[in-house]
């Protein structure tokens, strides 16, 4: 008995993209919680970048404005670091986001039982199904995280401009902002992949007999 069954990588990307496109609404719901959580993460981090830029100038004026804005600073501080409270809120929001993704992906798997079972009847191996789900989640992760990072970063800059004036924007270290955005995008992709892990496993382990069940 022979045993070679393949699925070229390019083809799996094609299928994953198509799935996202066709189930656009479902993908949007799955991605939305990620967008929001990553936007929050990036808002906080870029906000801190702005504050650091201002502190680095050493002007007392900026210092007072920052304290007014709610930053916990003692005289002589040249950096703001995210406070424990801030960190906890961010971590919680990311956790909630992962739970949301798991929930949405589990529903997607249930909706697609017949499709998965059929693919298995056509010769798909468990790991093709795994790969398809991880690819879809990865693509959703990149797109969602990028959108979230830009949204949150943009909002942070906008609020800095409104609160401290145009001059403040000139002091921002753009390298730091870019690093914060990059961190947010990477975090988003990782969260999306963590969220799909269990649902993908459920899908891959599904038996092909499921495709035969007649009741919808």
């Amino acid at each position: 008995m022979h045993r070679l069954v393949v699925l070229p990588f390019r083809k799996s990307v094609e299928i994953a993209l198509k799935s996202i496109q066709v189930r656009f609404f479902r993908s949007l719901v799955t991605t939305l919680s990620l967008v929001l959580a990553i936007a929050f993460l990036s808002f906080v981090n870029v906000g801190n970048d702005v504050a650091n830029g201002l502190l680095a100038t050493g002007h007392g004026e900026w210092f007072r404005l920052l304290v007014d804005a709610g930053y916990d600073l003692s005289p002589g501080d040249l950096r703001v670091d995210s406070s424990p409270k801030q960190r906890w809120i961010v971590i919680l929001s990311l956790l909630v986001c992962v739970v949301g993704i798991i929930n949405a992906q589990l529903m997607a798997v249930t909706e697609r039982f017949r499709e998965i079972g059929t693919m298995k009847c056509l010769g798909a191996l468990d790991r093709f199904i795994l790969r398809l789900f991880f690819l879809e989640a990865g693509l959703q992760g990149i797109i969602g995280a990028l959108a979230g990072a830009l949204l949150g970063g943009g909002a942070a800059l906008l609020s800095a401009w409104l609160r401290y004036g145009v001059a403040a924007i000139a002091e921002v270290s753009w390298g730091g902002v870019l690093a914060s955005l990059g961190f947010a995008v990477v975090a988003g992709c990782i969260l999306s992949l963590i969220g799909v892990f269990y649902p993908a496993l459920v899908a891959a382990r599904m038996q092909p007999v499921e495709a035969m069940r007649v009741e919808q």
Binding site: L4, L7, A211, V214
Partner: protein, 245 residues
């Protein structure tokens, strides 16, 4: 191998399902031998175990006892990779609910098993188009499933089942969700394939329209083979049905 080798051999297959404390014996000992190129109908009332038997023959489920041999290879001995190969190359499945993959066009559905078999690009497209031509849907190749009628979807499914030139086509109630005329068209198509391509067609059904085209009919009842009739013996049963119905 003897000259009279069997492409499918079912030996003493039983299958029980555990539903809580209740055990349902769906198959109670089935023996069946099918030769290459035959058109076999598995007939029986709803709940008689047709689908269960179908899943055993297709390597989709494991018997509780007994063995299923495809080309004299014991299916239960195959590992995941060999089973995938069997499903991909050796057997074509047709379902009552068509099971066309919703996100793909008709052509993509037909070429998907070819992709799994390592055939891609132009060759897959050419072969896919030829198969769609065979089932009379060449002009619909870019349509999505929801743009096709039930009969057309089942035609796509037939083309997809033929993608890798399988030796066996397994169909579970292929006309169950179709109206009379469309059902007849699908039956005629299956018959044509069986005689033109020498594909072994095994079809579970309670559609009496299948009787005319079958080489043999396996009547099952309550998880057992009731009787097996060759085509020439069939007129009697059809007569009976005629007088009953």
């Amino acid at each position: 191998m003897t000259t009279d080798s069997h492409i499918v051999r079912v030996a003493g297959v039983t299958k029980s399902f555990q539903l809580g404390k209740l055990t349902v014996d769906a198959l109670k000992g089935i023996d069946l031998e099918i030769s290459a190129g035959e058109y076999i109908s598995i007939m029986g009332p709803s709940g008689s175990g047709k689908s269960t038997l179908f899943n055993m023959i297709g390597g989709l489920d494991k018997p509780t006892a007994g063995k299923v041999y495809i080309d004299e290879v014991d299916v239960s001995q195959l590992d995941a990779y060999e089973l995938a190969w069997l499903r991909c190359r050796k057997i074509g499945y047709i379902f009552q609910t068509f099971n066309i993959i919703q996100v793909m066009t008709a052509l993509e559905n037909v070429t998907l098993p070819m992709t799994f078999a390592g055939i891609g690009g132009d060759e897959a497209v050419d072969r896919g188009m030829a198969l769609l031509e065979t089932v009379g849907l060449a002009d619909r190749f870019q349509h999505k499933p929801f743009e096709l009628s039930g009969g057309q979807q089942q035609r796509v499914a037939v083309a997809r089942a033929l993608a890798n030139d399988p030796a066996i086509i397994l169909a579970d109630e292929p006309t169950g969700n179709l109206d009379l005329t469309t059902g007849e068209e699908i039956i005629a198509l299956l018959k044509e394939l069986s005689s033109d391509r020498q594909v072994t067609v095994i079809s579970a059904t309670h559609d009496f329209k299948m009787l005319n085209v079958s080489d043999r009919v396996v009547w099952i009842r309550d998880g057992r083979v009731d009787k097996i009739e060759n085509r020439d013996e069939l007129s009697i049963s059809i007569g009976e049905i005629g007088t009953r119905g």
